[in-house]
C-alpha cells in the first residue's frame, strides 16, 4: 500500500514540475516584455533578458514625445471603440435575436449568405473599402468607425447560439398574454441576454484597440499622427523605430504595456463567454 501512495505522490510531483516548467516557458516572454519596458536602452534592441539598468524614463517619454502623440491616440481609440461598441452591440444583438427567435422567409438565405461572405478573406475587400471611404471623403476616424460597424450584422453566431438556448415557451406565454414582438424583444429577450450583451459589447470595444491593419490603411493617408488609433500608432512607431529612430524602441514597449494591461484584463474577464460561444457552436455541429 505504501508503494501505491509513493507512486501517487511521485506522479503528483512530476505533474507539478511539468506544469511549473510549462508555465515558466509561457509567461517568460511576457515578463520579458514588461522588463524591457523598464530597461534603459537606446539601441533599438533589447538583447538581454534582465535589463542592465532600470528606468521609468520610457513611460515618461512615451507620454511626452511630440512625435508620437499617444494621448491623442488613446482618446481617438476610446471614442471610436465606445461608439463602435454601442452601435455594433445593438446591430449584432438585433440580428442574432431575429435569426434565433423569429421566423421569416429571408431567414435561411440570409444565414447562408452570411456563411459564404465569411469565407472571403477580409483583406480582399480592403482596397474597395478604401475607395468607398475616399469617395465619401471619409478617410478618417469616422470612416474607420463605419468599417467596424458595417460588418457587425455578420458577427451574430455566438449571440444567436445564446438566444437559441432560451426556451421558446417564455415568448409564447408572453404572446398569449397579448405582448407584441417588440415588447417581447425589449422586455424578455434583452433582459435575459445581459451576459451576451456584455460579451458582444466587450468584443466590439476591444477590436479597435488591437486592429492595426484596417486603421493603418484608412488613417495613414492623412499623414497626421494625431489622427491615428493606438494600435496603428504603436505599430507605425516600431516600424520607424526599426529604421532610424531606434532610441524610441523602449518607449514603444512601454506604450504597448500601457495598452496591453487593460485589454488583457478585459480578455480574462471575457474568457468564460468565449468558451461558451465555441462549445455551444460545437454541440450543434
Amino acid at each position: 500500500m505504501k508503494s501505491y501512495t509513493n507512486q501517487k505522490r511521485l506522479s503528483l510531483i512530476f505533474r507539478y514540475v511539468l506544469l511549473i516548467l510549462l508555465a515558466i516557458i509561457w509567461i517568460l516572454p511576457i515578463i520579458w516584455i514588461i522588463l524591457a519596458s523598464f530597461s534603459y536602452n537606446n539601441t533599438g534592441f533589447v538583447s538581454t533578458f534582465w535589463p542592465e539598468k532600470f528606468t521609468l524614463q520610457n513611460y515618461v517619454g512615451i507620454f511626452t514625445n511630440p512625435q508620437y502623440p499617444i494621448g491623442n491616440w488613446i482618446i481617438n481609440t476610446l471614442v471610436v471603440s465606445t461608439l463602435s461598441m454601442i452601435i455594433s452591440t445593438f446591430l449584432t444583438i438585433s440580428v442574432a435575436y431575429v435569426l434565433s427567435r423569429l421566423r421569416f422567409a429571408f431567414r435561411k438565405p440570409f444565414m447562408q449568405i452570411a456563411l459564404v461572405l465569411g469565407m472571403f478573406p477580409g483583406f480582399m475587400s480592403m482596397i474597395a473599402l478604401y475607395y468607398i471611404l475616399k469617395g465619401l471623403n471619409m478617410l478618417n476616424l469616422g470612416g474607420l468607425l463605419l468599417v467596424y460597424v458595417g460588418g457587425a450584422g455578420l458577427g451574430f453566431y455566438v449571440a444567436k447560439g445564446f438566444f437559441d438556448t432560451i426556451p421558446r415557451s417564455i415568448d409564447e406565454a408572453a404572446e398569449i398574454d397579448g405582448a407584441t414582438r417588440w415588447q417581447i424583444f425589449t422586455h424578455i429577450g434583452l433582459p435575459l441576454s445581459k451576459p451576451m450583451i456584455v460579451y458582444t459589447a466587450l468584443t466590439a470595444f476591444i477590436a479597435p484597440w488591437t486592429d492595426f491593419i484596417f486603421s493603418g490603411i484608412i488613417l495613414s493617408t492623412s499623414g497626421n499622427a494625431k489622427n491615428y488609433t493606438i494600435a496603428y500608432g504603436l505599430y507605425n512607431m516600431v516600424h520607424n523605430a526599426k529604421g532610424n529612430a531606434t532610441q524610441y524602441f523602449a518607449q514603444f514597449v512601454a506604450g504597448c504595456v500601457v495598452i496591453a494591461i487593460p485589454i488583457t484584463i478585459l480578455f480574462i474577464f471575457m474568457q468564460k463567454f468565449y468558451v461558451n460561444g465555441i462549445t455551444a457552436g460545437a454541440d450543434k455541429g
Binding site: 505533474r15 509561457w26 524591457a36 440580428v95 423569429l102 450584422g153 468558451v275 461558451n276
Partner: protein
C-alpha cells in the same frame, strides 16, 4: 413555429389585380405606392413613391452613364495630349479612373436590384390590399401598418440597419474585388484598366505567379494542418494536466496561460519577433547558459526556411495552446465519467484511458470547431505578418518569402512593391474556394456524425 397554421387568404393573380383593380391599384404598377396612398397608408405610400422618384432622377442623371461605362471601364486608357479645337490649345487628357467607374457601376447595379425589390414589395402590398378590399375585409390603416413593424414584421425593422451595413461594407467590397480579378489592374495599368476575363487567373495558376502560388499554397496547407493539430493536441494535454487529480489552484494555472492569449497580438508577436532576433534576448540566454556557441538566425532574412517555418509553428503553439486549453477544459469538465471509471476498474492506465476514451470524446465534440480553426489558420495573417513578415525572402518567389501564407502574399501583392491588384483578387477567390471546400466537407462530416 406555432403561428404557421395561419388562415391563407384566397389568392389573386396579378392579372386579376391589373384588370379588376381600381385606378389607384392600376397606377401602382407604374407609380409605386399609389395604392397605399389611396388606402391612406401614408407612410408606406410616400416612402415608396419617394424612392421611385429619387431612383428615376438618379438613373437619368448618373445611373445610365455609370452602367454604360461599366462595360469598358472608361474609354480613355492612357494619358494623352489632344488638341482642343474650341480653345485652340493642346490639353492633357487624364486616363479614366477605372476603380471609381467599377465601384459606381457595381453600386448602380445594387441600386437597380434594390428598386426591383421595392417594386416587388409594392406589387405584393397592392395585391394584398386588393384582396382585402375584394373580400370586404378591413384594410390596415396607416397606424396599424406602422404598428405591424414592431410586431408581425419586427424582423424587417430590426434587420434593416444591419443589412444596409452589410450591403455597403461587406457585399459591395466583395463584389468589387471579385470583379477586379477579371481585369488587368496592376502596376502597368494603375489608373485605367480593362476587362481581361480569366487572364489574371491564368497568371496565378500557370503564368509568372504559378512558381510562387503552388509552393505558397503547399506551405499554407502544411502550416494550417500543423498549427491546428499542434495547438489542439497539446491544448488537450495541458487541459488534462491542469484538470488532473491533486493539482491545486487550477484557476491560477489556467490564468497564467490565458494571459498569453489575452495580450493583444500586435504587442505579443512584435515583441516575440524581437525576442527571437539574431541579437535578441533568446539568443543571449541560450549563449549564457552555454547551449549554443553562436546566435541562431530564427526568423530573420538569413534564417534557413526550415528553421523559420518550425519557429513560426512553435510560436503559434505559444499563442494558440492557451485558447485550445480553455475550450478543451470546458469540454473535459462536461464529459461523462462512467466510461473512464469502467476502464479504470478494468485496469486501464492513464495513457490507455487518454488514447481510447478521453481524446476521441474530445475530438468528437471539437470536430466542427477544429475545421473552423483550420480555416482560421489558412487565413492566419497576424502570426506571419507580425512575426516574420514573410522572411526569409525567397528568390524563387515573386513577392513572397518562405514563411508567407496565401493571405500575407495577397497583402504584399496589393500593398507592397508588386501592386498586382488583380492577382491579389484572384488569390482571394482561390482562398475562398479552399475555405468553402473544407467547410463543405466538415458540414457533411458532422452531418454524418449526427446520423451515425
Amino acid at each position: 413555429m406555432f403561428r404557421k397554421k395561419k388562415h391563407v387568404a384566397p389568392k389573386a393573380t396579378y392579372r386579376e389585380v391589373w384588370t379588376k383593380g381600381s385606378i389607384a391599384t392600376k397606377l401602382s404598377f407604374i407609380l409605386m405606392g399609389s395604392n397605399a396612398l389611396a388606402n391612406k397608408q401614408w407612410v408606406k405610400g410616400i416612402a415608396l413613391l419617394l424612392s421611385e422618384i429619387i431612383f428615376i432622377v438618379w438613373f437619368i442623371f448618373s445611373g445610365i452613364s455609370a452602367l454604360s461605362m461599366l462595360v469598358t471601364l472608361g474609354s480613355n486608357k492612357s494619358k494623352k495630349v489632344v488638341y482642343d479645337a474650341s480653345q485652340g490649345v493642346y490639353v492633357t487628357k487624364q486616363p479614366s479612373n477605372s476603380v471609381l467607374i467599377l465601384l459606381f457601376g457595381i453600386l448602380a447595379i445594387i441600386l437597380c436590384l434594390a428598386i426591383v425589390y421595392l417594386y416587388i414589395i409594392n406589387l405584393r402590398s397592392t395585391r394584398k390590399n386588393y384582396i382585402l378590399k375584394r373580400d370586404g375585409k378591413h384594410i390596415p390603416t396607416n397606424k396599424e401598418e406602422i404598428a405591424s413593424l414592431f410586431d408581425t414584421r419586427l424582423h424587417s425593422t430590426l434587420m434593416a440597419v444591419p443589412l444596409i451595413g452589410i450591403l455597403f461594407f461587406t457585399i459591395l467590397p466583395t463584389v468589387f474585388m471579385i470583379s477586379m480579378a477579371f481585369t488587368n489592374y496592376d502596376r502597368q495599368h494603375p489608373i485605367a484598366f480593362s476587362w481581361t476575363g480569366f487572364q489574371a487567373f491564368g497568371n496565378v495558376l500557370s503564368g509568372d505567379l504559378a512558381g510562387t502560388f503552388f509552393p505558397v499554397l503547399g506551405w499554407t496547407l502544411v502550416w494550417a494542418v500543423m498549427a491546428t493539430a499542434t495547438t489542439f493536441f497539446f491544448g488537450v494535454l495541458l487541459a488534462l494536466l491542469i484538470e488532473s487529480k491533486g493539482i491545486k489552484h487550477k484557476g491560477f494555472w489556467r490564468t497564467i496561460f490565458i494571459i498569453v492569449w489575452a495580450v493583444p497580438q500586435f504587442v505579443s508577436l512584435l515583441m516575440m519577433a524581437q525576442f527571437l532576433d539574431y541579437q535578441g534576448a533568446l539568443n543571449t540566454i541560450l549563449m549564457n547558459i552555454g547551449m549554443i556557441a553562436h546566435p541562431i538566425h530564427f526568423i530573420d532574412n538569413q534564417a534557413s526556411p526550415l528553421v523559420a517555418r518550425i519557429t513560426v509553428i512553435i510560436v503559434n503553439m505559444w499563442i494558440g495552446i492557451p485558447v485550445s486549453m480553455l475550450v478543451s477544459t470546458a469540454i473535459i469538465q462536461n464529459l461523462p465519467t462512467d466510461q473512464i471509471e469502467a476502464a479504470k476498474i478494468d485496469g486501464a492506465n492513464a495513457v490507455q484511458i487518454f488514447r481510447s476514451i478521453t481524446f476521441p470524446q474530445i475530438l468528437f465534440v471539437m470536430a466542427p470547431s477544429l475545421i473552423q480553426q483550420f480555416i482560421g489558420n489558412i487565413n492566419n495573417f497576424n502570426v506571419i505578418f507580425l512575426l516574420t513578415g514573410g522572411a526569409p525572402m525567397n528568390n524563387n518567389y515573386n513577392g513572397a518569402g518562405s514563411t508567407d501564407l496565401l493571405v500575407t502574399w495577397l497583402y504584399n501583392l496589393t500593398f507592397g512593391q508588386e501592386q498586382r491588384y488583380n492577382a491579389s483578387a484572384v488569390l482571394g477567390i482561390l482562398i475562398f474556394i479552399i475555405s468553402a471546400v473544407f467547410s463543405l466537407l466538415a458540414y457533411r462530416h458532422t452531418n454524418a456524425f449526427k446520423e451515425g
